[in-house]
């Protein structure tokens, strides 16, 4: 066992461990850049230097690559170390002023603004890309070329790489997003659109679906994963420091017996391309409100920078079109999407934050700002001239001279208006998430003609469904904004809790019962039951051998509709309270 001292703490190390390994075991933080647990250390960036004070030649050594040795005394955060790191960071920042990872570290080490010559590189030359390709993936598609400051990441002879398998491991490990295998891979690599950013940027096949995802963990998109497509690569597995990648994992059906289900499948926006007059999908500067939202988001594809998709310029004039598909009886959705008025008002403000001298216009049908303080908010936007509100519809958006001409009616001002816009933002109708119909059928809950899920009663049971134990929350029920969704979700949660926290369930007494003596076990009742209340009950003999499988009614699920009993030919199912005999008696009695 190797014994050494780190920051005065005695530590033990195994043969082959580096100082970094030992320090991390002691939870001593040492910054790294070119280090990756899965890739053999190289010691290139020197950010991880620590000071050897005794036990070997004193001096600064890279913790990542320096083997733990017996008797070493090490300081990981001495002034000398910090100074060295500070300088490393300043040098790297001078080289790559945009690199976030450097900026963040530099902030921590209080880097000074030295009069250094600045470059505008993206690559901090950590070499992870080259190393992962050669040492982990194998093909060695990339290499270093040139020396000194001219050193760069390249392919041999700067040719398209025939050996690159397009795995993207290089891009994956790159801390500064400086490498794009599509630029040198001889295989045409298609960009995978980042779904969360409305396809405005791209993502890797293994990715964290979106910021703050829960769980905040990466997933592998099998369709695009090189490993699953070709059997090669395996980069993520080898680079994963936690060894968390398991390609043999299969989707598995997890069966949970639950007492309540809350459906919160949310919504999506209707595709506005169906309205050709607005030019969505035809003109890049026509975007949806969701795309706009991503564009102005600091965590979005542009890091919050608002640019015209067509040419990257600042949009000086922007037009927001409301009710794209909403309140369109004839060719859209007849209902009001409810959230657009408010988010558009917000968008105009966000727009003004980004483009101080920009001009925003909003074409609207009615401004519906019902909600606490909502009207104040809209009033503010209008009064402070954040945006010009024009009541009327837009008939056409068409390009002219690099601008988008928005032609519409101003019904209050009178007459037609035409605005030369840099960008047009559409507020498409809110529609339920696709596939909700299928889910609803599985859950045996109702949905309306627009596929919004149906509540059991619009006033008295607004979060319940007709299927006991299934509750609704959020926009799967109808267009609603965040406060409303939260309120509904809270209600659904309370209802669900109310259900599952009781020792016994209260139900209507009118439920179906099975006569096991006569049940044939054909299970046609199972098929007709809208509530999945028919279960299969195994009838055992005294030796525990299954002699028959018969229908059994889940008393909690059954709603007592009686369809099962009608379907049952042997009349082995009857609804309590509406038994056949009772109805026969009724028929008989009423016939007098």
């Amino acid at each position: 066992m190797i014994k050494l001292t780190i920051n005065g703490n005695e530590a033990e190390a195994a043969e082959g461990q580096t100082i970094l390994d030992v320090a991390r075991e002691l939870s001593i933080e040492i910054p790294t850049l070119c280090h990756h647990k899965a890739i053999p250390p190289t010691g290139a960036c020197r950010i991880c230097v620590v000071e050897i004070t005794a036990g070997a030649r004193p001096g600064l050594v890279p913790a990542c690559a320096y083997p733990a040795q017996d008797g070493l005394e090490i300081q990981t955060d001495s002034e000398r170390v910090r100074e060295s790191r500070r300088m490393t960071l300043q040098l790297l920042e001078a080289r790559c002023p945009e690199a976030k990872v450097i900026q963040e570290m530099a902030a921590e080490y209080g880097a000074l603004d030295l009069p250094l010559e600045r470059k505008d590189e993206k690559c901090i030359m950590c070499g992870l890309c080259v190393r992962v390709c050669k040492e982990i993936i194998g093909p060695a598609a990339t290499c270093f070329a040139g020396r000194g400051p001219e050193r760069e990441i390249s392919t041999p002879y700067k040719l398209l790489s025939e050996v690159c398998i397009g795995c993207g491991a290089c891009a994956f490990v790159c801390p500064t997003e400086a490498i794009d295998p599509a630029e040198f891979c001889s295989i045409a690599l298609e960009k995978i659109p980042n779904e969360f950013n409305c396809g405005l940027d791209s993502r890797t096949p293994v990715y964290i679906p979106f910021p703050q995802a829960v769980p905040n963990k990466p997933v592998i998109d099998r369709e695009n994963c090189i490993h699953f497509r070709t059997g090669g690569c395996g980069a993520c597995k080898t680079v994963c420091p936690a060894d968390a990648i398991d390609y043999d994992m299969e989707d598995k059906v997890v069966e949970e017996e639950v007492g309540a289900i809350v459906v919160a499948t949310g919504y999506q926006l209707m595709d506005p391309a169906v309205y050709e007059e607005y030019g969505y999908g035809k003109y890049p500067d026509v975007v949806t409100s969701m795309e706009f939202e991503r564009m102005v988001s600091a965590s979005g594809p542009t890091g919050g920078g608002l640019h015209r998709p067509s040419n990257g310029e600042l949009p000086k004039t922007i037009v927001f079109l409301q009710c794209i598909g909403s309140r369109q009886e004839t060719d859209g959705k007849p209902y009001c999407s409810k959230i657009c008025c408010m988010y558009t008002a917000k968008h105009t403000i966000l727009y003004k934050h980004k483009v101080h001298d920009g001009q925003a216009f909003v074409f609207y049908m009615d401004v519906r700002s019902g909600g606490k303080n909502y009207e104040d908010f809209v009033r503010r936007v209008v009064k402070e001239k954040v945006a010009t509100y024009l009541r009327g519809r837009v008939s056409k958006v068409f390009p002219r001279g690099g601008k988008l001409m928005v032609r519409g009616a101003d019904t209050l001002g009178g007459g037609q208006v035409e605005i030369a816009a840099d960008m047009v933002v559409l507020a498409p109708a809110v529609v339920p998430s696709s596939g909700v119909q299928e889910l609803a059928q599985k859950l045996r809950i109702g949905y309306d003609q627009h596929d919004f899920l149906l509540e059991a009663h619009p006033k008295l049971r607004p979060v319940e469904t007709n299927t006991a134990g299934v509750f609704l929350a959020g926009a799967c029920h109808s267009p609603m904004d965040i406060p409303e969704s939260v309120a509904q979700a809270s209600a659904a949660a309370s209802k669900a809790l109310g259900l599952v926290t009781h020792e016994r369930l209260t139900r209507e007494p009118t439920i179906a019962v099975v006569d096991e003596l006569t049940c044939n076990g054909c299970f046609e009742c199972e098929n007709v039951c809208a509530y999945k209340a028919i279960e299969r009950k195994e009838i055992l003999d005294k030796d525990g051998v299954v002699t028959a499988v018969l229908a059994h009614v889940n008393e909690g699920l059954c709603q007592g509709c009686g369809a099962c009993g009608v379907t049952c030919r042997s009349k082995s199912l009857e609804v309590e309270g509406f038994r056949d005999l009772q109805l026969f008696s009724a028929i008989s009695a009423i016939s007098r």
């Binding site: 299970f523 098929n527 042997s570």
Partner: protein, 287 residues
């Protein structure tokens, strides 16, 4: 088709093999007794028994009727000789969880038609060669083109009558009914442990052999087979008083065929028309 033809030889060999291997506990097939017109069922329990099996054009019955019976189940896995028409009934039994596919060995027979004279159903048969059996014996038979209208001829003739005529017709037919339930008992799909007729709380169907009871019985029988009946015709064949039950079955088969595109017995994983629905189902005739 002759009783000592190749189909019979192949059948006996197959049955003997199955029985001697212990693959099945019984082979349900047809046998000939003297010169009777009807080949009666044979329940071969061992290889020697298998020699009693025959297949010829006297093999009218639908042996699927025996599959649900506890006496047969007690014998273990059952081999059963099925014509194409009989197989359709097996499919329904499978669909309705009455039997499990692994519990039966289906010995199909190519069949050009049975009966002397040939049964009406055989002239519109489109399953001369059963599909999905474990083994099929006999010489393959050409599948003639089937006239769909012909298939529903008996029903069509009655449909052509006025309501009043039909009433008179059926009234006279049902008057004959002696409620022997041969139609039920011979039907492979009437496997209920307790027939609705036998339920007396409430008494759904009057057991008395008067017109009311017989109408009720025949309506129930027909309705409970709607969407299920495979048209094997056994009910009508065994009716001791000659009620044309086949016409009723045809009528209802045609209804589910025309309305829901459903033809029972074609496979074991169909969804019976009365267990599913479509929002697009016709509303015709609904106020």
């Amino acid at each position: 088709m002759k009783a000592d033809g190749p189909a019979t030889d192949a059948l006996r060999k197959e049955a003997a093999d199955l029985l001697s291997r212990g693959d099945v506990g019984v082979v349900i097939g047809y046998g000939r007794q003297d010169d009777a017109d009807l080949a009666a069922p044979v329940f071969a329990r061992n290889a020697e028994d298998a020699d009693r099996l025959v297949f010829d054009d006297h093999c009218l019955g639908n042996l699927a009727v025996y599959l649900p019976r506890s006496e047969i189940r007690a014998m273990g896995r059952a081999g059963v000789v099925v014509k194409g028409c009989d197989l359709m009934a097996v499919n329904v039994l499978l669909r309705e969880n009455v039997i499990k596919r692994e519990d039966v060995v289906l010995i199909g027979t190519h069949c050009a038609g049975v009966g002397e004279p040939q049964l009406e159903k055989c002239s519109t048969c489109d399953v001369h060669s059963p599909e999905g059996c474990d083994v099929v014996v006999g010489e393959p038979v050409d599948q003639p083109k089937v006239d769909e209208e012909q298939r529903y001829k008996a029903a069509a003739e009655i449909d052509a009558m006025s309501v009043e005529e039909r009433w008179d017709f059926w009234r006279s037919q049902f008057d004959k009914c002696i409620r022997c339930y041969a139609c039920r008992q011979v039907c492979p799909l009437c496997y209920c442990k307790r027939c609705i007729v036998e339920k007396n709380i409430p008494q759904w169907v009057a057991t008395s052999a008067h017109l009311r009871g017989s109408i009720a019985w025949n309506v129930v029988r027909a309705f409970h087979l709607t969407g299920r009946c495979v048209g094997c015709g056994e009910c009508e064949r065994v009716c001791p008083v000659g009620i044309p039950l086949g016409a009723i079955n045809q009528k209802m088969s045609r209804h589910v065929g025309d309305s829901y595109g459903f033809h029972s017995g074609l496979s074991a994983d169909q969804e019976a028309p009365f267990t599913v629905w479509s929002p697009d189902d016709s509303d015709e005739g609904i106020l």
